[in-house]
Every structure is written in structure tokens, then in C-alpha cells.
Amino acid sequence: MQSDLPLYPEQASNFAANVDALMVYITAICAFFAIAITATVIYFFFKYRRKDPGEVGVPIHGDMRLETAWIVVPLLLALTMFGWGAVVYVDYRRAPMDTLDIYVIGKQWMWKVQQPTGLREINELHVPVGRNVKLILASEDVIHDFSVPAFRVKMDVVPGHYNTMWFRPTRAGRYHFFCQQYCGTNHAIMGGWVTVMEPMEYAAWLSGSSDATANPVAAGEKLFVEKACTTCHLPNGRGRAPSLNGLYGAKVLFADGSTVTADDAYIRESILNPQAKIVAGYQPLMPSFQGQLTEEQIIDLTSYIKSLQSQPVPATGSGVAPATGNK
């Protein structure tokens, strides 16, 4: 347990110990310099205090060796801080493969969370301890920011972009999460609690409160028909647009010869700005759906497209790049 006046928040994720160690390192260096310089200044103040009104100091104009030393030494120390910080940062940015993907949508002034099963929560986030969790963040209106101090994680939630972040909770418990990017009137109450549960409890919680009406795949399939996506994206690959079977997670080949892995961000971009990347062999016919779908509907559509991952991929008429790769 922590004291009444703690100096650091609880450590509840894989990042926390690393970040705190880095903090201790930089604090130690900075404290050393702050104390050394302050002590020197105070010492000089007393030692060389003017004794006679007409007195002048000893003229000393500079010293190249000293100047070099206090350029080089701080520079080297700063580079170690940069290097260590970079290592920790790369860890933050590189999510492992086997993540539990949870969608988080910010809007003025609440958070909507969607678990992989489609279960929805508001201002609450339940995650199992020990699992790698990836949050896919979207905003309906202004810029928000999802931050959990106990996990030492934070990421802006920017309208028009998907941002992702990952962490692995290491200790069961309830922790604050905050909106950390100023977003208007009720910014200060746009937060909630992360509940970290033992995996068994989490599974029980998921099934116990499962809500059959909130099946994102079914909702996505319905939208797919309503928005007339089916007229072009035929499953057999004979339509005017590529089949989406087996698309999610595969590499897509574009007209300019480049490829990209079809992830959430790619699917989102293809819906909202279809002209940005044109699949090889197809015309840029698709209209943009910007402004016609809410972020939640986009997530439903993505969930549906994800569910097609296991469907048979047609031999022709799919955007998926050949396994041999492209030269």
C-alpha cells in the first residue's frame, strides 16, 4: 500500500516499472546538477561577498577547457537519457501480435468501449490481467486523449485518425483513466475506471453480461447491405470491386505496386477516403462515406469484414497480394 502522500502512482502494467526506473535515472542526474550548481552559487555568494564599496572582482575572461567540458559532458549525459527514453518508447509503439483488441471511442464528454465480443461499456474498461491489450482509439468530435496513469500509458484520440496503444496489465484492481487532452466544458469529468480482473473472472464477466442485441458483426453485415457495399464487393470476386474474403490481416497490393497490411486503420481509410489507395486491377469507383457513418458504424463494418477473414478467398478478384510477394 502507498503512503498518504505518494510520489508515484501505482505500478499496474508492463511499462510502469521501466518508466519509473527511467524517471529515477533522469531525476538522479538532474538533482545532482541542480544541487551542485545551486550549492556553488550560494557558496560564491558568501565567499566573494563585497567587503569594500570600491572593490572590483578578479578579471577572468573564460577558459576553453571548461567550456568544452560543460558542452561535452552534458551532451553525453543527455544522449544517454535520449537513448534509454527511445528504447522505452519503441516498446510503447510496437504492439505484440497476440493482442486483445478493444475499441474505444471518445465523444464530448464520455468514453464508449466495445469489447471483442461486442459488449459495450460506458466510462468503464474491463481487461484481464496478464493479457496484451490493444486499444483502437477513435473520436466522434474533437481531440481527446486516453490516459491511465497507473499503466503509464497515454494516447491522443484524434478525429479522422485511428490511434492505437497497447499495454499488459500486471495487477488486478481498479485504476483511474482520464481524458488528458482538453476537449471542452466537461473535460474534467470525462474519465472513468479501468478494472483489471483475473482472466477467469474476466471471461465470466464477459459471458455473464453478454448482450445478444449488440453483436457488431451482425450490425456490420446489416450496414454492408444497407450502404449497398454488396453491389460491388461480391464475395466471389466477380464484382467491380475486390472481394473482401480473407482480407483482414492480409497484405493488399495496390496499383502503384506498393502493399500494406489490411488493418483497422486501412479499412477505415478505404471507407472514408477510398481514392487514397487503389487496389491493383480496379478502377477508383468507390464513393467516399465521410460524414455518413459514425465511428461506431465504422467499427461494426470493420468487425464484419474481420469476420470474413476465414471465408474462402477467390482465385481472382481479391485485393490480397500473391503469397510470393511483388517485385
Binding site: 472514408l272 477516403n273 487514397a276 467516399s288 462515406f289 465521410q290 460524414g291 455518413q292
Partner: protein, 217 residues
């Protein structure tokens, strides 16, 4: 501060005064570069995000009007350069003549620009005011085309504003020139306003290809 002839009190010599004025103008122009730089950057980023719609939208502005304006403006730069020369060699009549020619060309440019704006008005291409890119365009296309026209009006509008300021300065120069104030010894205002005028021309030399020429084959 007292003023002795054309020498203002804070300076020691006319030479120092000329150097100061000219350095001031150059620094002002470097500010201007960064000022336009911000909007050029916004344009470039957006153009690379929506290349197709920007290209479609840019085809609705009339190439020949832009080209004509480019010629007019280059002509005005020539007459401005001649004005500076005339002031340096002390040909007072020629100076007035070239300044008037520059002013006329500047006004022709603004007139053509106004005609182009009128075109856009007729076509409902004024952003934020009854904007409709083309019949049947969907909401997203409209929004992205509006982005192009916002930048088109923003950039050309800012440029036109600089032209109007320039025209005002020219009118003042013509007035002073008729009074015979500029001599080979004192012609700093002509040189400085000349620098400004050339700068405004150069901005147009960048605007013209960016807005009119990319993707026209």
C-alpha cells in the same frame, strides 16, 4: 527627431539611412515568405491527401486567365525595374511614366482576378456560401472540393491584398515622383517598393503552377 532634408534625425549619414531602409525591407520580405509558407504548407498537405479531387477542382478555373495574369504581372515587374533604373539615373519624367504603367498593369491584374472570382461566384464555387462543386456531387466530394477552393481563395486573396497594398504604395510614389522628390541621391522609397512589388510577383509565380497547372495535360 529632427529632419535635415531627406536625412532623418536618428541616422548619421544618408548612406546609413539607405542601408537601414533596404535591410528593413529585406527582413520584412523574409517574414512574408514565412507568412505565405504556412498557407503553402496547408495547401501541399491537402493536395497530397486528395490529389484527384484537387485536380478536378483546379480544372474548373480558367487556365488562360491565370496565364494572362502571369504575363501582365511579369510585365509590371519589368516596368517596376525600369522605374528603379529611371530613379537612379535621375530621369524624373520616365520615372513617373514607368510608375504609372506599373500601376495600370497591377490594376489590370486585379481586374482579371475579379473576373475570375465572378466566374467562381456564378458556378457556386465560393466556399461556405452556397457551395456546390458539381450537380450530383456527394457530400465528401463537395467537402474536399470546397477545401481546394478555400485554399484557392485564401492564397489568391492574400496575394491580391498584397497587390492592393502595392497599388496604394505606387500611388504615393507617383505623387512624390511628380513633385520631383526622387533624385539619384535619394531614391530609397522607389527601390524598396520595387523590392516589395517583385516579391509579390514571385509569390504569384509560385501560385500559378500550384493552383492552375498541376495535373493539366
Amino acid at each position: 527627431m529632427h529632419r535635415t532634408g531627406e536625412l532623418f534625425g536618428q541616422y548619421r549619414t544618408l548612406e546609413q539611412q539607405r542601408e537601414t531602409a533596404s535591410l528593413g525591407m529585406w527582413i520584412f520580405l523574409s517574414t512574408e515568405v514565412l507568412f505565405f509558407g504556412g498557407v503553402f504548407m496547408t495547401y501541399t498537405i491537402n493536395r497530397s491527401t486528395y490529389p484527384d479531387i484537387f485536380s478536378e477542382a483546379s480544372k474548373t478555373i480558367k487556365l488562360w486567365l491565370g496565364a494572362l495574369n502571369t504575363v501582365v504581372l511579369i510585365g509590371s515587374s519589368l516596368t517596376m525595374a525600369l522605374s528603379v533604373w529611371a530613379s537612379q539615373v535621375g530621369k524624373k519624367k520616365l520615372l513617373t511614366l514607368f510608375l504609372i504603367l506599373t500601376l495600370i498593369l497591377g490594376c489590370v491584374f486585379l481586374g482579371i482576378k475579379a473576373y475570375e472570382y465572378h466566374d467562381k461566384y456564378v458556378e457556386h464555387h465560393i466556399p461556405g456560401w452556397n457551395f456546390n462543386f458539381e450537380p450530383g456531387a456527394d457530400a465528401a466530394t463537395n467537402a474536399h472540393a470546397q477545401l481546394f477552393f478555400s485554399l484557392y481563395f485564401g492564397m489568391t486573396g492574400l496575394h491580391a491584398l498584397h497587390m492592393i497594398v502595392g497599388a496604394g504604395l505606387l500611388i504615393w510614389l507617383i505623387k512624390e515622383s511628380v513633385r520631383g522628390r526622387f533624385t539619384p541621391e535619394y531614391n530609397t522609397p522607389v527601390e524598396n517598393i520595387g523590392l516589395y512589388w517583385h516579391f509579390v510577383d514571385i509569390v504569384w509565380i509560385f501560385l500559378f503552377p500550384l493552383l492552375y497547372l498541376i495535373d493539366r495535360h
